[in-house]
Symmetry: D2
Subunit: 257 residues, 4 copies
């Protein structure tokens, strides 16, 4: 039976592209996202045109039971999940404290922290029974430091990072590889950055820093590192790494004054 | 009008002792805890016997509206809150992933992360109007790294630490001092450690490492550092520090093999 | 016999001011610096006018044997060293890699890392024999992250920070308190910042951010935290803390774009 | 002309194995080590038997001019250096402060920090002229925290890590990829771990945790990640990652008490 790579947060940026990379290597990619059924169908079709196997699911991971049902259903109808990419974001842009509602703060946690806990609770015991597996978690520099305006996002990502460490501490020796991938820069992703900036500004950014200049992070190249992580030999696993474009300052650096 | 020091999580360890330290310096200490009305009354009485001012409140901070009502009520009936000590814990001991319920995971976040967000949302705008204030946050090394069995606690504390950073990033320049205090060791606290270990084991630990040996962290001495933080001049504020007993390894150290 | 506080790097900023703070509390301050005999005499005189005890030494800590002889001489002629403040800096401004000579790189290490090792090797065994002591180490955010142009400084400070941790790991349980103080901002220090900027620019900076605005770190207030660290009870020691002016961004933060 | 991969510290563990991996991909591997000419010849022969190109150099990188001459000579006689693996170690085992001589402390810095600065000063400007290159730096968890007994090693590695950051900050945007690889565990390396433990103990460790169990880090698998790093697209570079065996605790974790 084909190995399954389950992607939560499969937009046209990191999620869908990583799914496609795994499909190219023989995995059945299960691509899950909340909206844009047409976009989802296009991603599945693109994989199938390359001779790969993919399934698309439209779902809201924040809802009770949705993740749990998804895992059970994929295991029953597609196959055993060998790799999960947890790629749900919770960035809502910069908001001051008084403009960050309790609801927004809680939603950040539900999507970025609690949903990961639910995924892990649902999948890791199954992987353990089968003798191993991989959980790749996309994260952000907001997991490392909290900037102004990032109350919801940073609190959620800080929780996500610590959860990745507790999962790794419990499951690594059981042959389950948990990796925390710090994305430290702007990704060339129409479904997230594109929507946040608006079509016109995104087009400008792409013209200034995009493909020709490699100054935006290009998902097809990021996917190579995700794939590498999932295929490291267990005598040499990486738990955490950062990714940024060559032209970007690392989050810890300030430009000389 | 007397300055108010509001303590959330005022047990007989750090919380109550820090409250008493501020009362000794002329603050009105408002001590809030969830249970043990007798213990709360004893703490208030002890402060009053020293000539200090204190009020006790029994409340469940996890409940909707309780923190918000508390802040409004204290401001109206006791006085303007100058210092908050956020000292709510969320440690539930080591539990494997399969033994950590969704409810336990969520409760950790509600107490350790979301309650801090609610406190900050309620108090910081008031402090800002008055030109300044101090928010002291007790934290744990689970905010820095996630050990096995600490899924709920570490995720909650990791979120707490990032939230302290986003609050500091937004409010420091408005003269509000946010400090994150990493407690890296066992505190001589009957209400928390004592209950977790049970009476007999706690007595043994105290005999082996307690007051005579200074090998448990002693709240009356920890309180001096909390007090110092709250009275640093704004040209030299500390955002984060660690505290441990001299005889303990720092969390980042391993003993030589 | 009077306790001695030995200060290496006793300019008119942190070093001299911390020495004075300890002298006010009854320590004999031994103030050591490389140059400016007149400035050194003024600092000693200022302490003596307040009724304190102080001695000034002009010396080059980078030279072979100088630190070792100093420690032996102070112990023999002034008294047992109870507190050391290691305050030697190695900031040479921003220099590109090709403009950083081997000599400059090595000198950074000699002053910022190796001199601390020499101090520790000379003093800590004496403190251990006497049952305890304190080593306060001024450090910089260059110990936490390396910015462009900081090859020499960051490498030296990164080494300093790790050395503070190894010293703490070996000596804390022997009642010797090692504290690493991260200075994350511009200090109102004519002998260092003043010289780096030049008289005119330093005057401008002081006018814009200085005493009236508390936007430069004021040594007399920083000294309170150094003094507090040295007098923490051993059941609650701090190994590392940061200090910055309320109006400064923490090193890990970036301003919203 | 063939691309050159220059390896400093080419023992039979990480260094030689990574060199071989690059040779398999068409690089000319220049393997440099201080001693064991026979071992060096065997490594070169093994590469050549696979159809690869390799050169061995016996040299002491700590000596004045040796690194500088090596770089000039390799560029002149072998070809332009495209990748450097800096793999010099400075671990001397656990030594108390009083047993760590000034000479040992300085040697740690010379090998682990200053030699990297010399390599970077010699190679990066050449890479910049040619439009790009890669500097891979093997590092250790001693760069992240200082354990007891590690005064020399931790200070040197802490400096190494910060230097990697300052090099990255200056050179990344000039298309030179600097990566800091944290080795967090015991490597199956006869030339380093083997010598430190002695033949008998190393044999026992290999029997208990070695190849069959993947409980020692296996250089041939680590090499895949080094190779991946050197071939990441510049829109998605990693500056830092950790590597450990699946069965090892991460350095930040403590086992449940």
């Amino acid at each position: 039976m084909q190995k399954v790579c389950l992607v939560l947060g499969a937009g046209a940026g990191i999620g869908g592209t990583v799914g496609r990379r795994f499909a190219q290597a023989g995995y059945h990619a299960v691509l899950c996202r909340r909206s844009d059924e047409q976009g989802l169908k296009r991603m599945v079709a693109a994989i199938e045109e390359e001779g790969g196997a993919a399934t698309g699911r439209l779902l809201n991971a924040a809802e009770d039971g949705v993740i749990e049902d998804l895992v059970a259903d994929v295991e029953a109808t597609v196959g055993p999940i060998g790799v999960v990419l947890f790629n749900l974001g919770a960035q809502i842009g910069n908001r001051s404290l008084v403009d960050t509602s309790y609801k927004a703060f809680e939603l950040g946690w539900r999507l970025a922290t609690f949903a990961l806990f639910r995924v892990a609770s649902s999948v890791l015991p199954l992987m353990e029974e089968r003798g191993g597996g991989t959980l790749l978690v996309t994260s952000a520099t907001a997991a490392m430091r909290g900037n102004a305006g990032q109350h919801s996002h940073a609190a959620a990502m800080g929780g996500r990072r610590m959860l990745c460490q507790t999962l790794n501490a419990e499951y690594a020796a059981r042959n389950i590889h948990v990796a925390h991938v710090l994305i430290d820069g702007a990704v060339d992703a129409p479904d997230t950055l594109g929507k946040m900036l608006g079509a016109e500004n995104f087009a400008k950014l792409r013209a200034a820093r995009g493909k020709e200049h490699d100054g935006l992070m290009l998902p097809e190249h990021m996917a190579e590192t995700y794939f590498h992580l999932a295929h490291q030999h267990r005598s040499a696993w990486t738990h955490e790494l950062d990714l940024r474009a060559y032209s970007d300052l690392a989050w810890w650096n300030h430009a000389p004054g």
